[in-house]
């Protein structure tokens, strides 16, 4: 065989194949034509490739280029015809393209989980890791180590569900502070999300169990300035870059000074409305400098180490964010409620 013959075969094949591709009208026919010309085992292009091997050595480069060119040309021709054939089929079937798409069941995280995840992301950027702790606790972890005075009105806010003896269902996530400080040396930066329990009857804004997120930061040189900086940064990241915050005195047995953080009321933007009772501010979290007694209770030198802590309720943030009017919706697990927040 000569190069001329080889070239003639190529030209003939090109003409045959392209006209064959043009003649088909269905994907099945096109596939048959593809196998006839481009098939891996017995396609006609394959015979051409085999003929290439029989050419004299000096003619092989030119023949190789010619072969590559036709291979590309036929592949392109096939693909372009395939697109045309497929579209024709789809269009024939879709006489009414306004008919609804096939649906799939959509999954969703619980709104409280969504808020917890978002809070966690914000603090992770600032070097916090996630700590967890048990929901059944002892009085020492839940109250004693945190400096709650026994038989004191401070306990009234923590009306407790007991299991037996000094075993209780934790009333806040703060026991995780103690457990973490017993396991890890400073510097400590943790975020502790979890469910907590109070002996509160169910109503539109109270539940006997609710989620809390606790934050704790302990090291040398940590101060109230860090607390303010970190928490107001958090508010801006959660609620928007222009979110204003204010800190006001409060009381928690395990922090001193204690500070409640407010954000400017999201509804009236600070002008005062019924939701914020005219103050222009809405409470978002409680915080404070870790009380020296708490550090002493885990064997740390309270003269050397200082730190801050905060606690917040992701359920309340979820209710505000998603306009959920009744806390019971968070627990009922009504499919129609949960599906609304599918992303």
């Amino acid at each position: 065989m000569t190069l001329d013959q080889f070239q003639q075969d190529i030209d003939r094949l090109r003409a045959e194949a392209i006209s064959a591709f043009e003649m088909v009208s269905t994907a099945e026919e096109l596939e048959a034509a593809r196998i006839q010309f481009l098939g891996d085992r017995s396609g006609q292009l394959r015979s051409i490739q085999q003929a290439l091997g029989a050419l004299p050595k000096e003619e092989k480069p030119a023949a190789g280029r010619a072969f590559n060119e036709i291979k590309q040309a036929l592949t392109d021709a096939h693909e372009s015809r395939l697109r045309a054939v497929s579209r024709a089929r789809v269009e024939a079937a879709l006489e009414d393209p306004t008919m609804p798409a096939r649906r799939v069941w959509r999954g969703a995280k619980h709104p409280v989980t969504l808020v917890i995840d978002e809070v966690a992301e914000i603090f992770r950027e600032l070097g916090f890791t996630i700590a967890l702790g048990p929901q059944v606790e002892t009085e020492w972890y839940n109250f004693g180590a945190l400096g709650f005075p026994a038989n004191h009105p401070a306990m009234d806010m923590h009306d407790t569900l007991y299991v037996h003896g000094d075993v209780l269902l934790r009333t806040h996530t703060s026991p995780v502070q103690i457990r973490t400080l017993q396991k890890y040396p400073p510097p400590i930066r943790i975020l502790a999300p979890g469910d907590v329990f109070r002996r509160d009857f169910f109503d539109a804004s109270h539940a006997p169990m609710f989620a809390q997120v606790e934050g704790l930061c302990i090291d040398e040189g940590i101060s109230f300035v860090d607390l303010k900086g970190m928490l107001s940064n958090f508010a801006r990241r959660l609620l928007g870059p222009r979110t204003k915050t204010r800190f006001r005195p409060s009381y928690f047995p395990f922090t001193e000074p204690s500070a409640e953080m407010d954000v400017q009321c999201q509804i009236c933007k600070g002008a005062g409305c019924a939701v914020c009772k005219g103050t222009g501010w809405a409470e978002i979290l409680g915080s404070g400098m870790v009380h020296p007694a708490v550090l002493t209770n885990v064997g740390l030198d309270a003269e050397k180490y200082t730190g801050w802590a905060f606690g917040m309720g992701p359920g309340r943030i979820a209710m505000q964010r998603y306009d959920i009017p009744d806390i019971r919706l968070l627990y009922d697990s009504d499919v129609r409620f949960l599906e609304q927040l599918a992303e």
Partner: protein
């Protein structure tokens, strides 16, 4: 704590409006929840002048008047008061006003003449007083002026959320002391009309005392800190003067009679609860003692109560009051009372708490005693209440008041190190500023050096016991908002993510991807067996126990949806379950629970009735969940026992199960399936002894087992189908084991794709069909090689399981 704006103004001179005062108190002392105009119901009342008045032509007691209410025209108003006088000013309610009584004024005819509103009496405005006739106003105001803005009835109530530590803030005095430090003006006790001169100082003793021949004994086991009393003879019990009624109403109280009102006035003014007994009903001396077992008395609210565990004030015969909580009917001050014994005490906070809980009633008094009443404030309060009673009810103090002190509370002296202030607060607060703040807040400076200030803590600040308490005082009076707000450089934490959190996140993502909805239900259940831990004080019997399985909660949630006629339920939860462990702490484990029921896909016009989720969907879901839960570990689903369809085993240990759920379901409901996977145990043991720590090396999240990449095959596969007739009792797993064993390592996939029974299959058998896919990593398999394997497999199946190829 309800405070009155006007009352505070009587203590301290300040310019702040109620809203500004709210912000000041919130910024420095305690959060003000809201400010409420006390007499908002009078907002539409205006001041009007009577310009003409003539007798009503058709009545012998009504007046026909013309009134200037500032509207430009004179209004015709019919008035029934005998004292209506031309030229005088009166409060006027225009048509449309809703009166404090709730009646709305209409334009209506009275004996033939239309009346355009009403001239009001004090009583009609809810201002008290029993005067006949309309309220004559002695003010210099133009007609039409808003009544509230011209008269001193428009007080504002300031509702303060006082922290549990600040017992001193439950009084106007307490708030005034703070305000005084904030605005830099001194405080003084408010003036009172007709206040007599100070009474003689009490005689201070221990255990026993006497006043006006009434002996008083305080038993030590009551832990009473101080008990003072005096006798006032010759009081005239009657209505209180207007200023007193107004003060009590401004804080949400109501007037009872002048003597009782005086005691309540002092409670709100000084935070000191006071009780007055009718001396005539006392028999023998007073004793403060613990109640006898089973002792009963009827308290002032008319309820007979069991006083066991309470501390009582008694005479020789019976209990006269529950100490710190409420008085008893038997010694109540009534209209006929002439002589009173006035008690001013500081009872034990914990004792009061026990009494209050025993009786189940909380009062203004018990609230304050539980938080602690200033022991050193007792003499001031005794003097104040005696003089207020005498000012409003007459009478005079008989003899020297008694004052019995219990165990003295040691005075607190605390050193403040100035560098420690900066260490904790982050910004420097100069020593002089600290000193100024604390002295104006009532702390007495004992000594001062460059770096240390020593203070004496005032008696009312029982919450201040350590240096950090002083630092908080400095911070809040200086102003939280003055401190910088910045993120300073920090060192990385030694902690690592809890592995359970890492797992839970991955599992949630996997389940959401499968189209499941996350639930966060309560972990309480009602039914129980001996594995359930009980809640000792549950809110209801429905919530009496802690769940041992997440499916217990999810089943109830599924039923809730079925009751709403929702049958497509795909739920999951990652949550804790609890198992009873005798008297030890219950064992807490974190489980993944999954419930699935209803249609496999949402209906669509192309498939109006999609198939229902079945056991095989449950098994598939369990496999995906298990892969997410035990990433990289080999978990197998084995045949389950009992109600369990399958069990998940991780290296032999059962770590989960798939079950059919029995729900309280309507007839139309599809079958429900449940999956429960044990993710791990929550450590409830103490990591270290109380007061210490135990830093473990390498704690934290382990490295996940990762799946390794295998080269993508480059050689073509070879496959064939194998249809077998399998006797009942032989499982797919058994068949597959033999196939794998005899096929050799080139078998890449083994997929069961059909099951059939019926025509052509002998009874007691089923036909099962597999597709076998072989592949050699380096070369194309020859037909002969495949045929050889097929023959070997068929032979092995016949020999080992008596399973034959299907021929038809």
């Amino acid at each position: 704590m309800n405070a009155s704006y006007e009352w505070l103004k009587a203590f301290v001179d300040f310019d702040a409006t109620p809203a500004q005062l709210r912000d000041l108190i919130t910024a420095h002392t305690a959060t003000v929840d809201e400010i409420v105009p006390v007499r908002q119901d009078l907002a539409s009342i205006v001041i009007a002048r009577v310009v003409e008045a003539s007798p009503h032509p058709d009545s012998d007691h009504l007046w026909f008047t013309k009134v200037d209410a500032g509207g430009g025209e004179l209004l015709e108003v019919v008035c029934g008061a005998p004292n209506v006088t031309v030229g005088k000013l009166y409060p006027f309610a225009p048509v449309g006003t809703t009166m404090p009584s709730g009646i709305k004024l209409d334009r209506r005819k009275i004996r033939g003449i239309v009346s355009n509103g009403m001239l009001c009496s004090s009583k009609e405005l809810g201002l008290g007083g029993n005067h006949d006739g309309i309220l004559e106003l002695d003010v210099d105001a133009t007609p039409g002026t808003n009544f509230l803005s011209a008269m001193a009835v428009g007080d504002t109530r300031i509702v303060i959320d006082v922290g549990a530590n600040r017992s001193d803030l439950h009084s106007h005095l307490g708030i005034a002391r703070e305000l005084s430090a904030v605005v830099g003006a001194p405080w003084r006790l408010p003036g009172i009309p007709g206040l007599p001169s100070p009474i003689s100082a009490p005689l201070t003793t221990k255990v026993e005392g006497t006043t006006a021949s009434v002996s008083i004994r305080v038993e030590a086991d009551t832990k009473t800190r101080r008990y003072a009393a005096l006798v006032i003879r010759g009081v005239t019990v009657g209505p209180s003067p207007e200023w007193l009624v107004k003060r009590l109403e401004s804080v949400g109280g109501r007037s009872i009679n002048n003597v009782v009102d005086a005691t309540n006035y002092v409670l709100h003014e000084l935070g000191q609860p006071v009780h007055a007994f009718d001396l005539a009903n006392l028999s023998g001396g007073i004793v403060v003692r613990r109640a006898n077992p089973g002792e009963k008395a009827t308290t002032l609210d008319g309820v007979e109560r069991d006083l066991t565990q309470c501390i009582v004030i008694a005479d020789g015969r019976r209990a006269l009051a529950v100490a710190g909580v409420m008085g008893c009917k038997n010694s109540e001050v009534t209209d006929t009372t002439k002589d009173v014994l006035v008690e001013v005490a500081s009872f034990d906070p914990q004792g009061t708490r026990i009494s209050r809980r025993q009786l189940g009633i909380s009062t203004d008094a018990s609230y304050r005693f539980e938080r602690g009443v200033d022991v050193e404030g007792v003499p001031t309060a005794l003097d104040r209440v005696a003089r207020v009673i005498m000012a409003v009810a007459g009478g005079s103090v008989d003899g020297t008041p008694a004052d019995i002190r219990g165990t003295a509370v040691a005075p607190h002296d605390i050193t403040l190190r100035v560098p420690r202030v900066k260490q904790l607060l982050g910004d420097e607060v100069p020593s002089a500023t600290c000193q100024h703040i604390l002295t104006t807040a009532g702390f007495k400076l004992l000594s001062a050096s460059e770096t240390e200030l020593r203070f004496h803590v005032p008696s009312w600040r029982t919450d201040v016991t350590t240096e950090v308490d002083l630092i908080e005082e400095v911070a809040r009076f200086y102003g939280y908002d003055k401190f910088s707000d910045e993120i300073r450089p920090f060192r990385p934490t030694t902690t690592r993510d809890d592995p359970m959190w890492v797992d839970a996140r991955r599992i949630r993502d996997a389940m959401v991807g499968l189209g499941f909805l996350e639930c966060r239900p309560m972990p309480f259940v009602k039914g129980a067996d001996n594995t359930h831990a009980a809640v000792a004080n549950p809110l209801s019997a429905e919530e009496g126990f802690l769940r041992t399985s997440v499916l217990e909660s999810l089943s109830r949630r599924a039923e809730h949806n079925l009751a709403q006629r929702i049958g497509d339920v795909r739920f999951f939860e990652v949550g804790s379950v609890f198992h009873r462990s005798g008297q030890a702490m219950p064992h807490e484990h974190v489980h993944l629970g999954i419930v699935l029921m209803g249609h496999r896909r949402p209906p669509h016009f192309s498939e109006p009735q999609p198939p229902m989720l079945d056991e095989w969907d449950a098994k598939a879901t369990a496999e995906v969940a298990a892969r997410a839960a035990f990433s990289g570990e080999s978990v197998e689903l084995a045949l389950g026992a009992g109600t369990r369809l399958w069990e998940l085993r991780n290296q032999g240990t059962v770590v989960g199960w798939v079950t059919r759920l029995t729900l309280d379901a309507p007839v139309w409901a599809a079958p429900a399936f449940g999956i429960e996977i044990v993710l791990g145990r929550m450590v409830t043991e103490a990591p270290a002894p109380h007061g210490g720590h135990n830093y473990a090396e390498g704690a934290g999240a382990p490295t996940l087992n990762t799946v390794k990449y295998r080269a993508i095959p480059t050689m073509p596969p070879a496959d064939f189908d194998l249809a077998l007739v399998v006797p009942n009792g032989t499982t797919v797993a058994q068949v597959e084991a033999v196939v794998r064993e005899s096929a050799g390592e080139l078998l890449e996939r083994l997929d069961l794709f059909d099951q059939y029974t019926g025509e052509g299959v002998p009874a007691g058998h089923r036909s099962l069909a597999w597709r076998l896919t072989f592949r050699h990593p380096e070369r194309t398999l020859r037909d002969k090689e495949i045929e050889g394997r097929r023959a070997k497999i068929v032979r092995a199946l016949e020999d080992e399981l008596n399973v034959r190829q299907r021929t038809s």
